[in-house]
């Protein structure tokens, strides 16, 4: 903790040959001048699962929400640094926020299907919001995305019932299907299993390992076992002395959990605090 090397150990986990989906360069988010998270510099490798771990207040969710510009509507929120999606600055002039959000999907902490819509309508809601009207396209997308979310078999016969009739785990998979229908390049998941029981959690985790073949996944999780089970790369964040979260270490999950460079990472993964 004496120099920059230890506080920002951002080894290139993505060795040559792996495609980079998103790049974070010195990203910081502040609300009304108060920094919530800073020093986030790492590359998100395509078709891998990148997890963000750290105790409460370390800025994981805040950082995640910067990646699809969900802070835009929060008055006083400011994102600095650079976030590149396939090399393009997502806060730059060459990309609109609605287009960005169709390319970077999001699944939230609690399942939040639209309560007034049916299962089918939920699955295609993103497409409809973006102006897709053709029935055949919507039908196709609904089936494809529900299959991808491992939900098709159980809802095929009741596509027109209200989404609120599904169980919590099914609702969350519907939310994943809803995001997948837009064919995003990146899927952000904000503690997607924290409101689910262990079996539903397991199913989502299994789903993620198959999904990463088609979409890059960035997941925030409180659960270290989950991070070690499902993620390929891992970012460890911690709240600094001024109560702002900062990136401590980024590496492959294997290295973060087995041979971290920073002693604080070791303390956290061993459960000594947090």
């Amino acid at each position: 903790m004496t120099d920059d090397l230890t506080t920002k150990t951002t080894t290139s986990a993505t060795s040559s040959g792996v495609k980079v989906a998103m790049q974070l360069q010195d990203v910081a988010v502040s609300f009304n001048g108060r920094t919530a998270v800073r020093d986030a510099t790492f590359n998100v490798a395509a078709n891998r699962v990148t997890s963000m771990i750290g105790p409460s207040g370390s800025g994981k969710t805040t950082l995640l929400r910067a990646l699809n510009r969900l802070h835009d509507l929060t008055p006083g929120a400011k994102v600095t640094g650079k976030i590149l999606l396939e090399g393009v600055d997502i806060y730059g002039p060459n990309i609109t926020v609605t287009e960005l959000r169709t390319r970077v999907g999001m699944v939230f902490q609690r399942p939040n299907p639209f309560p007034t819509m049916t299962i089918y309508e939920n699955a295609v809601s993103g497409l409809r919001f973006n102006g897709v009207k053709k029935k055949s396209l919507l039908d196709e997308a609904a089936e494809e995305s529900l299959r991808a979310a491992a939900l098709w078999e159980s809802v095929e016969s009741r596509l027109n019932v209200a989404a609120s009739n599904l169980s919590g785990g099914e609702q969350q998979r519907l939310c994943i299907a809803r995001a997948l229908a837009l064919k995003p390049e990146v899927l952000l998941m904000d503690e997607p299993t924290s409101a689910l029981d262990p079996i539903a959690t397991l199913r989502i985790e299994e789903l993620m390992s198959t999904l990463k073949q088609q979409v890059t996944i960035i997941i925030v999780t409180h659960n270290m076992q989950q991070a070690s089970r499902i993620s390929d790369d891992c970012a460890f964040l911690l709240m600094g002395e001024d109560r702002a979260g900062e990136l401590i270490e980024f590496n492959t999950t294997e290295k973060i959990f087995n041979s971290p460079i920073d002693s604080r990472t070791l303390d956290y993964t061993l459960g000594r605090f947090g």
Binding site: R101, F114, S125, F129, R178
Partner: protein, 306 residues
Amino acid sequence: MTDLFNPVVANDALRAEIQAISHRGRRARLLRSRIIIALCVIALLIAVIPLAALSWEIIAKGLPVLKASFFTQLPLSPNLALPNQTGGVSNAIIGSLALVFYSSLMSVPVGVLTGIYTAENENRTASAIRLMAQTMAGAPSILMGLFAFALICQQLGFGYSALAGSFALAVLMIPVIVVATEIAVRNVPQSLREAGLALGARPHTVSLKIVLPTALSGIVTGCILAISRAVGEAAPVLFTIGGATLLNWKPADPVSALPISIYIDAKSQWPSLRAMVFGIALVLLFVVFIASFTARFLVGRQQRKS
């Protein structure tokens, strides 16, 4: 039993002390509790008896008046030869329907859109509108009548008309609808808005396709309550609609309304006309009951959903 869960066993002296405290004054506590319950029951009876008596009076005296002619005929004047010739109140029924229809046409769009605006915006304009709506909701309804009389009847030259009456009622309904809409829209969880935005929806798409449908039953409930209030109001229509004894319904025509018929008939010297009042009151009571029952049903359904 507690030993099972709590390995620290309280010693006997402590336990005896706790028991002594709980026994002390046990009788007095029970007595106090019974007195409070009795007071609650008495208060309930005081509140319910007049209401039940009123309903009973209206139903008992109203039902005999409700014949087919009550709904289909125009009012007639009893005379010495035919003291029971009262006709019906079809003019007032049609008039009330027309008034409710026109006033809803004016107030629902304005009220709902205003409510959405105040719910979704946190600025000076929104808080000024909110304050105004809350103040207006408490304003005496006769002021709306005076306002409509001065503006529509006189200033704009429409005279006594359904338009003037429904304008007065609309002014009365708008604040109710604004407040109800604002509450319904605010109750839509923020997570649904975020879900929409995260799917690339524009903010106005989120408002129209997600927030509005989710808040709809709350909004409809507010509109029904506003309508049920408007249908029973006499003051705003008293000097704006003219009280026609014809089957009028067009906006520019003078019309009648059920509360106005009550007002007129109750002052009559003819007992047969005074008896009519209970029939009209029963119809009004029924309409308001159905409206608030529907509103409650919708609210219940909305709460079960979320």
